[in-house]
């Protein structure tokens, strides 16, 4: 299950991309895609207030708010989303800005190649999953480290109260082994 949000001021581009992403016959197929499309960046941001998405794909040159500005806001509100920018013009300055400020994963130029675009989307999704997994694992490690730390503190307290207690050697039947 992958949720995609696509923003482009050109409705025909949106429907072409929707067709492409939904069509499993054009390989590689995107597993269980759900797709939301918007011609307005503001409406897209409104949608994001209520929904989580895995990946946001935005055109660069749009009226009211360009793709770089949109994706920068998306990054702030949904740091876990993957972000791709697309452009029909080679506006290097804008793209540099997008990459640096909006943490863009990929840049795709228009017209795109269908298999390449889908492969890019899958790659970015996989990359994002890895990032999230990595962070979850790191959290887990940190939590476990907390447990260990608490146990260690308790042991130190016991040792302070009854020195040597943490080094007592027990026999199988519960007896205490004294030093020979």
């Amino acid at each position: 299950m992958s949720s995609l949000l696509i923003v482009d001021d050109e409705p025909n581009v949106l429907s072409a991309m929707r067709r492409l992403c939904l069509n499993a016959a054009v390989l590689p197929a995107i597993p269980n895609p759900t797709i939301a499309t918007f011609t307005s960046a503001r409406e897209a941001l409104g949608y994001l207030d209520a929904h989580d998405v895995d990946i946001v794909i935005s055109d660069y040159r749009m009226p009211e708010m360009d793709g770089a500005a949109l994706l920068a806001q998306v990054k702030e509100r949904h740091p876990d989303s993957a972000r791709i920018i697309m452009s029909a013009c080679s506006d290097i300055d804008g793209i540099v800005r997008a990459v640096n400020h909006a943490g863009i994963f990929r840049f795709v130029s228009k017209p795109w190649s269908d298999p390449d675009l889908k492969a890019t989307i899958l790659e970015v999704l996989a990359h994002r999953r890895l990032l999230i997994e990595n962070r979850e694992l790191a959290d887990e490690v940190r939590a476990q480290r907390d447990v260990i730390l608490r146990q260690k503190l308790e042991l130190e307290r016991l040792e302070r109260e009854s020195p040597g207690i943490t080094r007592v050697r027990w026999t199988e039947d519960g007896g205490v082994l004294l030093e020979e």
Binding site: E10, N12, V13, S15, A16, M17, R19, L20, N23, A25, V26, R61, A88, C89, S90, I92, D93, V96, S109, K110, P111, W112, D114
Partner: protein, 485 residues
């Protein structure tokens, strides 16, 4: 000079002699060889004064006392035009004082204040020397000598000769002016030729500026419309892909129904009858094969548009992405050859004649694009099998890279159009007519030139010339670039 052939030349101011002298002066004006005229004038004077020999010396331009032998009788011809030692001899004395002298016997006897004792002792039977003066300015001197067999000149001869020599001075001055004029004409002609050459160069430069501006404005336009074209291009291309997939589904479904149809036996079913009737009127096999063609052809058309837009956009590229770096040209040529090897291997023998080249400051990707264009063009120009020769070298402060083919060549009427955008002789779909104009523009932006030589039936040779020193693009070009950026 019959009237003056007597011993007393002063008796006659012979009109004929004067006229002849004047005519000699005119001769110089009419373009006769100046040295020859001087000589003829001198001989005329020698005859006129019934002398055996004589000489004329003129002051060299820009000096006051440097004399140069202009004519002489009985003198080796090599002496004519030679400078005389400054301020010496009878000539030196006459020019310095502006006074004529009569020398009978040696100078000491005559009382001439000559400098060297040798000069004072040199014996002269009889000689006269007059300064040549025009408007109070001394321009030289003339001397005549008599041999011992003739009577000596008298002070009267000297005085009457003075009147004639002022005429001679005018003729000589006139003559000298003609010589100067000729020299000036020659100089003007040289200047003119230089001007014409420079003019031609300016015209060339101007044409190149016009060409660059043309390319620049196309680039600007292309950058503007690229966005407008690429968006519809994007969804149209992508939709074709989806359509292809949908059609495959539809035809599979249709096949399934057609197969199922054979198994259905429902005589009274109107819907089935209608469907069968419809199917009979439709050539499904044709639709299947033609929709595939249709999609493929439409896609090819759109891809062609995509390529044109990309090529056009290349004109306006500039600035941030164009990072110049030192490039090993031979390395770059080899890598480009690898890319086109497949396209060329059945058409051409590739001959590499690499000279010694230093690394060149350039934008490697752009220069590779030029190499690629030239190599592909060379390959396309060859019918059957030919040879493509890639040679390099250094010429003065330029590096050159030449791509020569043994292909069909370019007719002269097309030679000055090949760098025009959209000019192509290739069949539709094979070339956009932009390859060479893009290459031309790239080489110009590197401060270099792209030259072409071609002979129909023999082949074509493109030569890229790049300055060895970096950042030497001419200012005109960078202005154009600025406008294009």
């Amino acid at each position: 000079m019959s009237a003056k052939s007597t011993t007393n030349c002063g008796r006659t101011a012979d009109i004929d002699w004067i006229r002849a002298l004047y005519e000699l002066g005119q001769k110089a004006a009419n373009g006769a060889h100046p040295q020859q005229v001087s000589q003829e004038i001198l001989e005329h004077i020698v005859r006129g004064f019934a002398a055996e020999s004589g000489s004329i010396a003129l002051i060299v331009d820009g000096t006051t006392d440097q004399l140069e032998l202009a004519a002489g009788t009985d003198l080796p011809s090599g002496l004519i035009g030679k400078e005389l030692p400054r301020g010496t001899g009878v000539f030196g004395h006459v020019v310095a004082t502006g006074q004529p002298v009569l020398v009978n016997g040696n100078a000491a006897e005559t009382g001439l204040p000559l400098r060297g004792s040798a000069e004072r002792q040199r014996s002269t039977h009889s000689a006269m020397c007059w300064p040549l003066q025009v408007a109070g300015r001394t321009i030289g001197a003339v001397a005549v000598n008599r041999a011992e067999t003739s009577p000596r000149y008298t002070p009267d001869d000297l005085e009457q000769g003075q009147a004639l020599t002022s005429l001679l001075a005018l003729v000589m001055a006139n003559h000298r002016m003609h010589v100067e004029r000729d020299a000036q004409i020659l100089e003007l002609q040289t200047l003119n030729a230089t001007m014409q050459r420079i003019n031609g160069m300016l015209e060339d430069a101007q044409n190149q500026v016009i060409q660059s501006e043309k390319l620049a404005s196309i680039g600007q336009m292309a950058a503007g419309v690229a966005h407008e074209i690429n968006n519809p291009l994007a969804f149209a291309l992508s939709n074709l892909g989806s359509l292809e997939a949908y059609l495959a589904n539809l035809f599979a479904l249709l096949d399934a129904y057609v197969e199922a149809d054979a198994a259905i036996d429902a005589p009274g079913n109107a819907a089935l009858a209608a469907a069968r009737k419809l199917r009979a009127g439709v050539d499904v096999a044709f639709l299947r094969s033609d929709t595939a063609d249709l999609v493929a052809e439409s896609r090819e058309g759109l891809l062609r548009v995509k390529r044109i837009v990309q090529d056009l956009r290349d004109f306006s590229r500039g600035g941030a992405e164009e990072v110049r770096q030192a490039l090993d040209i031979h390395d770059a040529l080899d890598r480009t050859l690898n890319i086109v090897r497949n396209e060329l291997k059945y058409k051409a023998n590739i001959v590499r004649e690499y000279g010694a080249l230093p690394e060149i400051e350039c934008v490697p990707s752009r220069l590779n694009q030029v190499f690629l264009n030239l190599l592909v063009n060379a390959g396309q120009s060859i019918d059957g099998v030919g040879t493509i020769t890639i040679s390099t070298g250094v010429d003065g402060d330029e590096a050159w890279i030449a791509v020569a083919d043994t292909g069909c060549g370019i007719p002269p009427e097309n030679l000055n159009r090949i760098f025009d955008p959209f000019f192509t002789t290739k069949p539709v779909g094979q070339g956009t007519g932009l390859g060479l104009s893009v290459s031309h523009s790239i080489v110009r932006k590197h401060g270099g030139r792209l030259d072409v030589e071609s002979e129909v039936g023999r082949g074509t040779r493109f030569t890229i010339r790049l300055p060895l020193a970096s950042a030497s693009a001419p200012t005109v070009v960078s202005d154009v670039e600025k406008r294009a950026a």
